[in-house]
């Protein structure tokens, strides 16, 4: 069976349980088990080849440009781990089926479990370290979900987050390490990397890579000082603890070290970092385990300790040590998984895992007791069980490893073994031995086969491997060791080596000492409780919580909604960077002759200065500032006229009028004054920012105006082709409707959208809610004028209305050749209508408003689009114009351009947009209770009731 398929099977198995959450435990577990079994079968089919020494590969391109390929490999090491993952996985599946209660969402559980299994299997089958990273991080994620499986338990949630944080951090560090490793080796494929030992260990980047990768491995395998997350992960359901936190996930770190052993091991750095970390972890965790009352906590620390042991062996960097490590991986998986399950059984039956509330279970649950005894003795490293064998090998290696002093390593290793004997006896003794108690939370008895079957099978393995290691396990150890060390290995494991070996006496001492410690447990416990010691969770929270608080404060303070500060920062940044860009480039001042200054513009300039200052100074009085703003706009438009831009002048002035009217109408509902609330320093700061920005803008445009174009401007073409190509003499207008008609198209769309936005906004305001209420009981602050519709004004506006419209049409028609055009025309007609509103009120004018504004806008945009698209019929691009001259007497010959049609669209859109905007305000006014009488005048001749 192809490795890729095998790797995919667990994920397939994850699918259905999740989808059929309601379908009950048997369906879910059965489905998962089926795929689990298939995968195991696949591995089994490949086993003979692997044992023959072959390395099975399956390669697919995934992301070649990165060197990330879906390459899988199966060698001895992979075989060992795949066997563990799938074999124990099957047992866990069986065990969990009985363990989980009716109320638990079993479908979810099996989905998560199979996701984890797939990720784990992926790690051990990857032949590409980037692919390995993918699966690596997925184990962190799926274990996060599994630990937090019981959502309602706070410790579950916290444990899950802690595990994700620590292992996630390790994973990120490992990403860095792996990328560096790949850079050195020139490939991310293991098959290549494993051949690059020399290059890698010679590289300057070796140490960074090593450290980063080891951080990943240590966090995953709960090595000191990253071990603290594992005990908190025990809030997961026991099947999870048994699977992830004893047999598989925590071994991923060991796997990685074993996997990278050929290229990373053998250097002093490797030895000192790995061996020392392992040693410290082994002793420290074993000691803590001795004093834990929670069965699972005890097992958790025992697990950490054994992981340390294996890490230490890998750290030695010798072939024999590696072999011992491999062997202990197998043995630990068997007895520790069994022990977790029995702990779960006790918890399940007695409803507590607290040793101090247990004891004497021997008689109540004999089967469980039997299983536990064998597994525990193996954990303690007593003959004839498999734990003894690998522990002997460990002590043997330790005894002749030079670390600080010749004897140091051996001695310390013995101490570690001693502790593990002690806590093993405590686990067994204080739970099962002793008198039967009558105060169990729930009187326990042996569970059904569903629960004890799996651990029983594992203990059988414990016994068999212990009794006949050569036949039962040596072949696997050989294969794995060969894969780890890269050279053929042949294990020679047996129970009895005679009395000579030092290791024997070391373990005798360990057992003896362990029994003594066990006896002295009470006084030691008292001592332990008195000694202060760091509590991992508190430290972890002590880091995370303040950081979270800091982030909250920082984020809140930075983004507190103070737009004025945002803008200040933004403006300063813009000016500063602009200045930097200018300063860091070469600049030659321009050579253009300045146009002479005359009196009139100079006078206008002074006027502008006054008006501008006026606005700034008097901006607290909004009405005044508005009037002066109008003056500024007026001067600007006059300036345009003076500087040969008639179109701009016309546009500016008409826009000015409409804008001011709009602002006046809005001001009717806004406060009339701006309170003085900025402190003097604040005003000075803003003044400084403003001044510098002004200097920047002024200086920039001056520098530009005083120089010639570096290259002839494209405007020349426009001047040359306006008449011949565009059929108009007003080049500006021809540019607007022809050369750059597409801009104008976008521009009128903008206006149209603006009107729609304003309309929608008004609807939202008037729909009800605080704004509407505020309007409904609106009391005009300023006293209203005596007569709202002055006779003179009404009459005047009536009279000029047709004139305005005429002018508008005239301006529109001549636009193509003389200053004017659709936009200006639209504004002029709009103004004419606005005047009617002002004179006779909205209601009256609206009553005479035949064409709906929306229609105007939509129609305008459509006409413009249609004119543009019309050129498609001629096979020309969008917006290609066409024109001809028509002569119908008595009129003189005039020219008709499709551009004029386009301009009509502009006209309509502008008109509609302006009126829609103004009418929206009027609607607000109406809601605010300004009775717009439907009469043209306040006093209508012949209608007495008008007032």
């Amino acid at each position: 069976m192809s490795l890729a398929l095998i790797a995919a099977l667990p994920f397939l198995g994850a699918l259905l349980p999740g989808l059929m959450i309601r379908s009950g435990r048997n369906a879910a577990s059965g489905f998962a088990a089926f795929f689990n079994f298939l995968a195991l079968l696949g591995i089994a089919l490949n086993t003979p080849a692997v044992l023959r020494g072959e390395v099975i590969l399956a390669q697919f391109n995934w992301l070649p440009s990165l060197g990330l390929n879906a390459n899988f490999r199966l060698d001895g090491l992979g075989l060992l781990f795949a066997g563990l993952i799938l074999g124990i996985g099957l047992l866990i599946n069986f065990y969990a089926r009985a363990y989980l209660s009716k109320s638990d969402p079993v479908g979810q559980f099996y989905t998560y479990l199979m996701l984890f299994q797939g990720a784990m299997l992926g790690i051990v089958l990857s032949d590409n370290i980037l692919l390995l990273l993918v699966f690596w991080e997925m184990t962190s994620l799926s274990s996060f979900l599994l630990i937090g499986y019981w959502k309602h338990l706070p410790e579950g949630r916290q444990g899950a987050r802690m595990a994700l944080t620590v292992t996630g951090a390790g994973g990120l560090a490992m990403i860095g390490g792996m990328l560096i490793l790949g850079n050195i080796a020139g490939s991310y494929d293991l098959s290549v990397i494993l051949t690059q030992k020399a290059a890698i260990q010679a590289s300057d980047w070796y140490l960074p890579a090593l450290i980063l990768i080891l951080i990943g491995a240590f966090t995953k395998s709960a090595q000191f000082p990253f071990h603290f997350w594992l005990p908190h992960a025990m809030s997961a359901p026991t099947p999870v603890s048994a699977y992830l936190h004893s047999a598989t996930m925590v071994k991923a770190g060991l796997f990685l070290m074993a996997r990278m052993w050929p290229v990373l091991a053998g250097t002093p750095e490797w030895f000192w970092i790995v061996a020392t970390t392992g040693l410290v972890t082994m002793i420290m965790a074993a000691k803590i385990a001795l004093f834990k009352d929670d069965l699972k906590a005890l097992l958790a620390f025992s697990t950490i300790s054994h992981l340390g042991l294996i890490t230490m062996l890998l750290g030695y960097g010798t072939k024999a040590a590696a072999m011992a490590a491999v062997f202990h991986i197998i043995n630990h998986a068997t007895f520790k998984a069994a022990l977790f399950m029995t702990a779960g059984i006790v918890d399940h039956e007695a409803h507590t895992r607290d040793i101090t509330r247990l004891g004497g279970l021997r008689k109540l649950m004999p089967i469980t007791f039997g299983i536990t005894t064998i597994a525990t003795l193996s954990m303690a490293g007593l003959p004839p069980f498999n734990g003894f064998l690998s522990k002997e090998m460990m002590l043997e290696e330790a005894s002749h490893t030079l670390w600080l002093a010749p004897w140091a390593m051996g001695a310390l290793a013995t101490i570690g073994a001693l502790f593990s004997v002690a806590y093993s006896f405590r686990f067994l003794g204080h739970t099962f031995l002793g008198p039967v108690r009558d105060d169990y939370p729930h009187t326990p008895h042996d569970p059904g086969f569903g629960l004890w079957g799996a651990p029983a099978l594992l203990t059988v393995l414990v016994v068999v491997i212990g009794a006949a290691p050569m036949t039962s396990a040596a072949w696997l150890v050989d294969a794995a060791t060969t894969a780890v060390t890269g050279e053929p290995a042949h294990a020679y494991i047996k129970l009895w080596h005679g009395l000579e070996p030092l290791a024997l006496w070391m373990s005798v001492f360990a057992v003896g000492g362990g029994l003594v410690l066990f006896g002295l447990h009470q006084p030691l416990l008292a001592l332990w409780d008195r000694t202060p010691r760091p509590e991992a969770k508190r430290i972890f929270d002590g880091i995370i919580e303040p950081f979270a608080a800091l982030s909250r404060g920082l984020t809140g303070a930075l983004h507190d909604g103070a737009l004025t500060r945002y803008l200040a920062i933004g403006v300063v940044a813009i000016v500063a960077l602009g200045a930097y860009a200018f300063d860091s480039g070469t600049h030659l001042p321009g050579t253009r002759a300045p146009t002479p200054i005359e009196i009139v513009p100079a006078f206008g300039w002074i006027l502008l200065l006054c008006a501008t200052l006026g606005v700034v100074v008097a901006h607290h009085n909004r009405f005044v500032s508005l009037v002066m703003l109008g003056v500024v706009g007026l001067i600007v438009s006059v300036g345009f006229a003076y500087l040969s831009a008639p179109d701009l002048a016309l546009t500016q002035i008409s826009v000015e009028v409409v804008t001011i009217v709009l602002l006046l109408l809005a001001l009717n509902f806004l406060p009339k004054a701006t309170p003085r609330e900025s402190s003097t320093p604040r005003r000075l700061r803003d003044g400084a920012i403003a001044g510098i920005t002004g200097l920047g803008a002024g200086g920039l445009i001056y520098a530009l105006m005083m120089r010639d174009f570096a290259f002839p401007s494209i405007a020349g073409f426009h001047l040359a082709n306006a008449k011949t190509g565009g059929g108009g003499t007003n080049v500006v207008n021809v540019i607007l409707v022809d050369f750059r008609g597409y801009d104008t198209f976008g521009e009128i769309v903008v206006l149209g959208i603006a009107a729609l936005v304003i309309f929608a906004l008004t609807e939202a305001i008037l729909r009800g809610g605080p704004a509407n209420d505020r309007l409904l009981n609106w009391t005009p602050r300023a006293p209203q004028a005596g007569d709202r519709h002055p006779v003179m004004m009404v009459v005047a506006t009536r009279m000029i209305f047709p004139i305005f419209v005429m002018v508008g049409i005239f301006i529109f028609l001549r636009g193509h050749n003389l200053p004017g055009g659709g936009f200006i025309a639209g504004l002029i007609v709009a103004i004419a209508l606005v005047l009617q509103y002002m004179a006779s009120g909205f209601a009256w004018a609206a009553a005479r408003q035949k064409l709906e504004y929306h229609t105007m806008i939509g129609f305008g945009v459509l006409i413009a689009s249609a004119t543009g698209a019309g050129s498609w019929l001629a096979g020309r691009p969008f917006m290609t114009t066409n024109y001809t001259y028509i002569h119908l007497p008595p009129l003189e010959e005039f020219e008709v351009a499709t551009a004029a049609l386009f301009d009509l669209g502009v006209f309509l859109t502008v008109l509609g947009a302006v009126l829609l905007a103004l009418s929206s305000i009027s609607r607000i006014a109406t809601r605010a209770g300004e009775q717009g009488s439907a009469e043209p005048l306040d006093l209508v001749p012949g209608k007495e009731e008008a007032r």
Binding site: T564, S644, I701, S713
Partner: protein, 113 residues
């Protein structure tokens, strides 16, 4: 002439920037209007200054002002008009909804938890 125009641009920019840093919506809108005057003149001037040479083709003209920048300014004016209209109405709406025309939202919903 260039000096006058440049200083005018500077003035209006400065005024605009000062006003957009005020704390109420209305002066900010006025400030934005100022900025759009400033930038319109800026674009216009970027076509260099000419007197009495409108870009209207005639037989007798000695030369023409840059028509392109004028067209660009026209577009800019129109667009900024639309934008002004929208922000005016929106600040009006915001004022009516909250009874307060401060532009800073120092009381953002996430803070009143």
């Amino acid at each position: 002439m260039e000096l006058l125009v440049a200083s005018a641009v500077g003035m209006m920019t400065a005024a605009g920037v000062y006003l957009i840093l005020r704390q109420r919506t209305f002066p900010v809108i006025v400030g934005l209007a100022f900025l759009s005057y400033a930038v319109n003149v800026f674009i216009f001037a970027s076509g260099r200054l000419t007197v009495d040479l409108p870009p209207i083709l005639t037989k007798t003209a000695l030369g023409y002002a840059d028509p392109l920048t004028q067209a660009l300014v026209l577009t800019a004016i129109v667009i900024s008009f639309g934008m002004t209209a929208v922000i005016v109405m929106m600040s009006l709406g915001a004022y009516l909804e909250s009874g307060d025309d401060r532009i800073d939202m120092t009381d953002t919903p996430e803070d009143d938890t």
